[in-house]
Amino acid sequence: MNSLAASVFIVEDDRMVIETYREILRIYGFEVVGWSYNGEEAIKKFKNLNPRPDVIIMDHRLPMKNGIETTKEILQIDPHARVLFVSADVTARSSAIANGAAGFLRKPFELKEFVSTIRVLADKAPSPPPG
C-alpha cells in the first residue's frame, strides 16, 4: 500500500455502497483502512485505529445509532477527525454540519465531486488515477 495515500474509513450500512466506495477509492489511490455497517461498531473500530484515518465517510441512517450521533462520539474521541457525510437524507445536512461534519454530499453523488471532496478533506495528494 502506498504510504503517502490518504486513508479513509467508511461507515455505511449498504454493502453495495461500501463496495462502490472501496472500488472508487482504490482506483483514485486512497487507502481504505476499514469500514463498519453501524455506528456502534464504527466507534469501537475508530478507537483502535492507529494512525487515525484522514477522512471518515459517514452515512446518516444507520442501524442503532445514526450518523450524527456517531459523528459526535467520534469527535469526542478525536476532535480533529474529518467526517464527510454522504447521505440520501438531505434533511440531515444542517444538523450534520452543526454537529461537526466537515462536509456533506447527497446520494447519488457525482464521481468527480466525491473524489475531489475527499481529496480536499484529506489534505494530502493521493496517487493519480490510472489512465
Binding site: 453495495m16 455502497v17 462502490t20 472508487i24 437524507d89 447527497r106 447519488p108 464521481l111 490510472p130
Partner: protein, 376 residues
C-alpha cells in the same frame, strides 16, 4: 339504558328518577344513583354505562374539576352536566371540554331530560366515529409518508453504485469511445431518476409545511448559481441564456429552496430535452398585479426545444391541488416534472402554466410561465 346518576341531593335524585320514568314510555332507564365523585370514578372505570348525569357540585368535589375528573376517567362516555345555576361561563367551558350537554336543574322536565340523554348518546357516537375516521386518515397519511420516505431514501442508495460504476467506466482511460458513450447514457438516465425522486420529495415536503414556514428568496440571486450548475452539467451543449429582469429592485418570492429547485429543474429540462446542440433560453421577469391576485412576479422561461403539445399544456389548468388531467394511465413526458412543480407552486399561492414560445406553433419551443407571490 343504563344511566349513572352522580348527585348528592336525595330530593334531586328522586325528582330525576321520576322525570325519566314519565319522560319516555318507550325507553326504560335503569338509573344507578351515587353521591360522591370518588365512587363515580370507580364505577365508570369498572362498569358499563350508556351515559352519566353529573351534578358538578358534590360533597367531595366542586365545580369544573368534578367534570374534568370524570371525563378523563371515561372519555368515551357521554356526560350531561347538571347544575342548579344558569352559569353561561361554566356551561360553555364544560361543553368545550367534552360534555355533551349542560342542563339547569330547575328548568328541566321529563321530556327535555330524556331527549337530552338520547341526543347526547347519539352525538357522542357520531363524535367517536368521526375521531376514528380522522385517526385512520392520519395514520394512512403517516404510512404513505413513511413508505415514500423509504422509497426515496433507498432508491438513492440503490442508484448510487449504478451511477458511480458507470462514471468509473467513463473515466477509465482504457474504455473505448463507444463504451464511454454508452456509460454516459447510463449516467444521464440515473441522474434523471435521481432528480425525479428529489422533485417528488420536494413536493411531499412542501405540502407538509405550513406557508409561513417557508423562506423567501430573491430571484436576482437565484439565477446565476443555477445557470452555472446547468452549464456544468451540459458541457456538451451550447447554452445561450438571456435575461430580461426589472432593474434596481429585489425580486423576492415565497418558497425558498423549493423555488430554487423548480427553476433549476425547468432550466435542466430545457437543456436536456433540446434536440439541437444550441439551446437558447430566455428568462424574463415582469410584475403581475391582476385584480384579485396577490402581488406577484411573473417568470417566463422560453426555450427553443421540442415544445409541449396542447393536450399536455392543459394538465396545468384548474386551481385545485389535484391538477385536472392528471391521469395515472397516461404518459406525461416532460409534463410530469412540471406537474410536480405546479403542485408545489400552487401550495405557495402561485401557479404555473405553459405557452408556446411562438404562439400557435408548439413545435418551436415552450414558454414556461410561473406566477409567484412576492415575499417580504
Amino acid at each position: 339504558m343504563r344511566i349513572l346518576l352522580i348527585e348528592d341531593d336525595p330530593g334531586d335524585v328522586r325528582l330525576i328518577k321520576e322525570m325519566l320514568e314519565e319522560g319516555s314510555k318507550r325507553i326504560v332507564f335503569e338509573i344507578e344513583p351515587i353521591d360522591k365523585l370518588a365512587t363515580g370514578l370507580e364505577k365508570v372505570r369498572s362498569e358499563r354505562y350508556d351515559a352519566v348525569l353529573l351534578d358538578i357540585d358534590l360533597l367531595d368535589s366542586k365545580g369544573l374539576h368534578t367534570f374534568y375528573a370524570l371525563h378523563s376517567a371515561a372519555p368515551q362516555l357521554p356526560i350531561i352536566v347538571l347544575s342548579p345555576f344558569a352559569d353561561e361561563e361554566v356551561a360553555s367551558e364544560v361543553v368545550r371540554g367534552g360534555a355533551q350537554d349542560f342542563l339547569i336543574k330547575g328548568r328541566i322536565e321529563g321530556g327535555i331530560l330524556t331527549r337530552g340523554i338520547l341526543y347526547s348518546i347519539e352525538r357522542k357516537q357520531a363524535e367517536t366515529a368521526l375521531r376514528g375516521r380522522a385517526m385512520e386518515a392520519e395514520s394512512s397519511q403517516f404510512r404513505a409518508e413513511t413508505y415514500f420516505d423509504f422509497l426515496a431514501h433507498d432508491m438513492a442508495n440503490i442508484i448510487s453504485p449504478i451511477m458511480a460504476y458507470a462514471e468509473l467506466i467513463s473515466a477509465d482511460g482504457a474504455t473505448s469511445p463507444e463504451i464511454k458513450n454508452k456509460a454516459a447514457k447510463i449516467v444521464e438516465q440515473v441522474r434523471r431518476a435521481a432528480s425525479f425522486i428529489l422533485s417528488l420529495k420536494g413536493l411531499e415536503e412542501a405540502e407538509r409545511t405550513p406557508l409561513d414556514r417557508f423562506a423567501t428568496v430573491d430571484l436576482v440571486e437565484v439565477f446565476p448559481p443555477i445557470e452555472a450548475r446547468v452549464r456544468q452539467e451540459y458541457l456538451d451543449k451550447h447554452l445561450i441564456i438571456g435575461y430580461e429582469l426589472p432593474s434596481g429592485t429585489s425580486l423576492r418570492v415565497i418558497g425558498g429552496n423549493h423555488i430554487r429547485n423548480i427553476l433549476e429543474g425547468i432550466l435542466e429540462n430545457a437543456a436536456n430535452y433540446a434536440d439541437n446542440d444550441t439551446v437558447a433560453i430566455n428568462i424574463k421577469v415582469v410584475p403581475a398585479e391582476e385584480v384579485g391576485e396577490k402581488k406577484s412576479w411573473q417568470i417566463e422561461i422560453a426555450d427553443n426545444g421540442p415544445g409541449i403539445p396542447d393536450d399536455l399544456k392543459n394538465c396545468f389548468q384548474g386551481s385545485s391541488n389535484r391538477p385536472e388531467g392528471l391521469r395515472k394511465d397516461l404518459s406525461r413526458g416532460v409534463a410530469s416534472s412540471l406537474l410536480v412543480y405546479s403542485t408545489v407552486v400552487k401550495h405557495f399561492g402561485g401557479r404555473i402554466w405553459v405557452e408556446d414560445r411562438l404562439p400557435g406553433d408548439f413545435t418551436k419551443g415552450a414558454k414556461i410561465m410561473m406566477r409567484l407571490p412576492r415575499g417580504e
